[in-house]
């Protein structure tokens, strides 16, 4: 505890600030930094801004909700990934290890198939993620084995494959002109449609899930030891594992319901955060949340501006994440032996 967490937290915060500045100012309608600050200050103080109404609308109506959604989704995925990597004692684990993403995907494509509204699709995706993880957990717990963690991960892989087949079936049956593009777009992840009404259903679950995980931060340190060691140190590992999985699944499902499937963030960001502040969850979780928000914000700004058409987020995070992860594997073995 003597080594300060401040430098690492400062770097993460700097990434988030740069992300915020770029996200608000860069784009098809460039906004100057001076305009940005005058509009935001005016909004906070309730006065009228000096900037034109077009600039105000770009900042407050168009980019504002999308920026907040990106920060929340990035933070949620990073926090969930951090929790799962600790719980499963495996740094190659990502938030969808127990089927949250595939469950959400099936819920969403079913919603699109029946031409439901956006909110209904999001609700189905959210419910699908929670149900998938609950099913994996129940099946995994019913199989009595000496290594409950391994059984849980393998059950997640198997159930995820089945749900993937379900998604394939719905896509196969879907109308190829109207429904299939919408499904594909959703499965690749995007924040293009994020608006103000998305923020509350996203913020609520993410805040609750993150708060539970941060409250359990010390126990999560102990949970990353071997099962029997954690129990001999006084932790009822079974109930605590349920609480951690539920909290991480809540944040994952809420972000998948809003933004579709965005891989890699929950895998890469926890590593970055660990290399900044070490493995102690008390400092790791906040750092991962801040860094995850900044990271997805930068990726989303790239998605908006790099090409004539928007690039799906899932593709960009994979293109950025894969080489980064290979580099991590080669260089960062000191953060996990």
């Amino acid at each position: 505890m003597t080594r300060s967490a401040l430098p690492g937290l400062a770097i993460a915060t700097a990434v988030l600030c740069v992300g915020l500045l770029l996200a608000f100012t860069v784009g098809r309608y460039p906004v100057s930094v001076a305009d940005l600050f005058s509009v935001l200050l005016a909004k906070i103080s309730g006065q009228t801004a000096g900037a034109s109404t077009a600039v105000q609308s770009v900042i407050l109506q168009v980019r504002g909700p999308r920026v907040l959604a990106a920060v929340l989704v990035g933070a949620a995925l990073a926090v969930a990934g951090t929790a799962f990597q600790g719980l499963f004692r495996n740094p190659l684990v990502s938030p969808d290890i127990l089927g949250a993403s595939s469950g959400a995907a099936l819920g969403a494509v079913i919603g699109i198939f029946f031409s439901l509204g956006v909110l209904a699709i999001q609700a189905l995706a959210f419910a699908g993620g929670l149900l998938a993880v609950a099913a994996v957990y129940l099946i995994g717990s019913a199989v009595r084995a000496r290594d409950p963690i391994l059984v849980l991960v393998l059950t997640g892989v198997v159930v995820g494959a089945l749900l993937g087949a379900g998604v394939g079936l719905v896509k196969y049956l879907a109308d190829p002109y109207n429904q299939l593009p919408a499904m594909t777009f959703w499965l690749l992840g995007s924040l293009a449609a994020a608006n103000v009404t998305d923020l509350l259903p996203l913020f609520g679950p993410v805040a609750i899930g993150s708060a539970v995980l941060i409250a359990l931060r010390w126990r999560m340190n102990v949970m990353s030891l071997h099962e029997e060691e954690a129990r001999s140190l006084g932790i009822a590992t079974g109930p605590l594992r349920v609480a951690i999985v539920a909290a991480a699944t809540l944040t994952t499902s809420a972000s998948v319901a809003t933004a579709g499937i965005i891989g890699w963030v929950g895998l890469v960001v926890p590593h970055l955060a660990r290399s900044l502040v070490g493995p102690d969850f008390a400092r790791l979780l906040p750092t991962a949340a801040i860094l995850g928000g900044g990271y997805l914000l930068l990726i989303d700004t790239l998605a908006r501006t790099a090409a004539e058409v928007e690039i799906p987020l899932g593709i960009l995070t994979a293109v950025v994440g894969t080489p980064f992860f290979i580099w991590l594997l080669a260089n960062m073995q000191k953060t996990w032996s």
């Binding site: 740094p91 359990l216 010390w218 102990v222 140190l233 009822a236 996990w336 032996s337």
Partner: protein
Amino acid sequence: MNIEGRNLTIGYPDRTVGHGLDVALATGEVLALLGPNGGGKTTLLKTLLGLLRPKAGEVRLGDKPLNNYSIRERARVIAYVPQVHISTFAFMVETVVLMGRTAHGGLFSRPSAKDRAVAQAAVERFGIAALATRPYTMISGGERQLVLLARALAQEPQFIVLDEPTASLDFGNQGKVMNEIRALARSGHGVLFTTHDPNHALRAADRAYLLREGKRLDEGPVDTVLQRAPLEALYGAPVQLISDENRRAFLPG
């Protein structure tokens, strides 16, 4: 206080490892558990720790069945030092020792100033204060064993159970750990450890328990039990005895 296993049948859901086992450990004494690989040493250890349920019989802690204690209450009475291993994440040594305080805090709490003081005292007792801010993954096997001992002591338990505490240590560190085990008994702890080396039992233990194929061959004061014939029966192999007027040692083969 006592830990007592009465007429235990031990094992896993799919297989029984041993039965008819009676074992007792009091505070202030050291008991060594000896036996060939696969004979049930670790299974018996885990049963006495409450990590495995006995298939028959009962483990009692003090005047109550061990089952009546919550996991947290148990951890404040019995500490477990597993075989030295490398953890997945590079926690600092002082964080690993602080984890020993988990059972003394609430569900959402972090270690308090008192917890830090207890952990610090444990670290100093084992002479590893200089390692406190090093990552646990970057220290030697002998140092790790001392860190795990410090973590066990930080639990402020009455009993400490060690699984092969000398198995992966060099010669010098083996002696150091033996001395620390003696010191723990002098400070009032009851210590149970498994070992492959009868000499370690002679050096550090008051009593020895010989376990072969899930059955107790013998049990009693080390000077009585650790003789050539019972050891040859235990390991199914010849054993040589070396002795002078006050001390004895065994050589395999």
